[in-house]
Amino acid sequence: MERVAIRAKGLVKWFGDEATRTIAVRDASFEAHYGEMLYIVGPSGSGKTTLLSMVSGILKPNEGSVSVEGRDLWQMTDDEIADLRLNKIGFVFQDYHLFPRLTTAENVAIPLILKKMEWNKALEVALEYLDIVGLKDRAQLPPVKLSGGEQQRVAIARAIAGRPDILIFDEPTASLDGDTGRKIVEFIKTKILNRERCIIIVTHDSRIDEYADTIMKMEDGKIIGVEKKTEFAPGVEQ
């Protein structure tokens, strides 16, 4: 099995027309591997979210290519990309984006329901994932009744419920206090990461550096350095 989960080559993204053009990402290339916890760090506005969006099929790059398990992501149709997102990629958004009108369990069940799992079955499975994040007893509450850290964990449960191979977190600790943030990331590293999963985390938070396998630094749209704590073979099979 190929160990590379995502390979990005020469990604460029700009916004606005010629007069007002801001280049958010310039010529970014990198690889993310299964079993790897990859951090993207850098100052605000350096293009981290933009880069993450391009590799996860959310934002089309102006130049460059992304391959996910050897398939060229941006050559696929919209529906194929939607399918890929549903089946391969799990997201945890910075603001969680939980549905306040649904219960916690229903929130977690959403990817399963989108995968056409039958409603009651999906809720059962959702409970298992809520159990993993330690929130089974909150299943029937609306997410707004939960604390920030708990909501974050619900978002994680929703992201992993569809059993994606690639998990993407944008600033998972930004709105949490230091302790809670550490606990969440430790949880991700020990309970969610495994050899068949690739986790990419965008963060500002240097207190959680110890959990990273690789830290990729961005500045002004460019990747300016990669610090490897664990070695992964560059783009070859295991």
Binding site: L86, F91, A122
Partner: protein, 378 residues
């Protein structure tokens, strides 16, 4: 129900205040539209009541006549010519006139008097009480038992009254299919008594009623009457002529049409607006669904479902409300002219579908435009 639609339903109804606002908008619009069109249809049905109550197949009249209550008398030769047309089984005159009745209590009441042909009584109503032959009795009148009956102080067989200073006596009660539009009670008597008791012009024939030998003779009869400069209409044609008159030649049709249009526009804007804010407030959620992997078609089906679900419930509530209003109004005003017909229901339903379609359209446009990236960036 598919899981996605169930999510759509929960997003909709769990937002109670917004859902209530949506329902109120649509209910209100449907209520107004059903009320307006029912009133209109009630008025139209009443405007043709005489044509329904007098069971003739063909009506002959002056071309300028546009409803049964304002006839233009025709000279006698029209009647004799009509009788000689091939295919005419018989042709009889009928008289419509207005008179003042002085009731026992001393109160005056305007009435419509229908004079039936002396020999044949063609066009006579069915009787609830009394014997048709009694119409030949001295000063005999039948009273129509319609919504206006009580205005004559609920007369019985034997009740006496004065009509234009003549004595009148009730000899029976007639059944009618429909009450009239003008709130005036109806009396039936013989043709000759009617024209004796009511001051008339030189000619007295209001209409000529024709019974053709067979349906197939009708076109020929119409053609021959037309040659005389008069008009022969079948019952349905006459009803249509009256309906067209009230719809297009009086203020009633135009006003009702405008009110209906206004209620439609009000309903459309309330519901469209509320649904639009609902979609706007949930835009992030739709974006998140998109990011998670929902396809465009799935988002569209969610919105269509939300819009049509709201529209159907609003439709039910609106129709229910309008019907109860009409029932309540009937309790107070027995001859309240409004009727809920399949046409009015169908019309309101189509309007509601348009409202739902319009609301979905703006919602779908918005949701398809949304970029998950913008959600992702927070």
């Amino acid at each position: 129900m598919s899981g996605i639609l169930k999510i759509a339903l929960k997003l909709l109804v769990n937002d109670k205040s917004k859902f209530a606002a949506l329902l109120i908008g649509i209910t209100f619009a449907v209520f107004l539209m059903v009320m307006m069109t029912s009133m209109f249809s009630g008025i139209l049905a009443r405007s043709s009541s005489s044509v329904y109550n007098i069971g003739a197949k063909i009506w002959v009249m002056d071309p300028a006549v546009n409803n049964a209550s304002s006839s233009i008398p025709m000279p006698d030769y029209v009647l004799s010519t009509a009788r000689s047309i091939k295919g005419v089984k018989y042709a009889e005159p009928i008289y419509f006139g207005g008179a003042q009745v002085k009731l026992k209590s001393g109160v005056y009441q305007a009435v419509t008097v229908v004079g039936l042909d002396n020999a044949t009584l063609y066009g006579r109503p069915n009787l609830i009480e009394g014997n048709i032959a009694d119409i030949y009795g001295e000063n005999a009148f039948f009273v129509a038992k319609d919504a206006e009956y009580s205005k004559l102080e609920n007369p019985k067989v034997g009740t006496e009254f004065e009509i234009n200073d003549f004595r009148g006596v009730v000899v029976g009660l007639a059944q009618v299919a429909s009450s009239g539009l003008f709130g005036v009670p109806t009396l039936y008597t013989t043709y000759s008594r009617a024209i004796t008791y009511i001051p008339s012009t030189r000619f007295t024939t209001s209409f000529i009623l024709i019974e053709p030998k067979s349906e197939a003779d009708t076109p020929y009869i119409q053609e021959q009457i037309h040659k005389l400069g008069y008009e022969a209409l079948t019952r349905d044609q006459f009803v249509k002529k009256i309906t067209d008159f009230y719809t297009y030649k009086t203020g009633i049709g135009m006003n009702i049409l405008m009110m209906t249009a206004i209620s439609f526009i009000v309903g459309l804007s309330i519901s469209g607006q509320t649904f639009y804010t609902f979609i706007l407030e949930n835009l992030e959620k739709f974006g998140a669904l998109k990011a998670i992997g929902a396809k465009g078609s799935e988002l569209i089906s969610m919105i269509l479902f939300q819009a049509s679900f709201t529209a159907l419930i609003g439709y039910g509530l609106g129709v229910g409300l309008a019907s109860s209003m009409i029932i309540l109004a009937r309790i107070r005003i027995p001859d309240y002219a409004a009727q809920v017909t399949y046409t009015t229901l169908g019309f309101a339903f189509v309007m509601v579908l348009i409202i739902a379609g319009f609301s979905s359209y703006i919602g779908v446009r918005k949701v398809l435009q949304i970029q998950p990236f913008d959600i992702f960036r927070g």
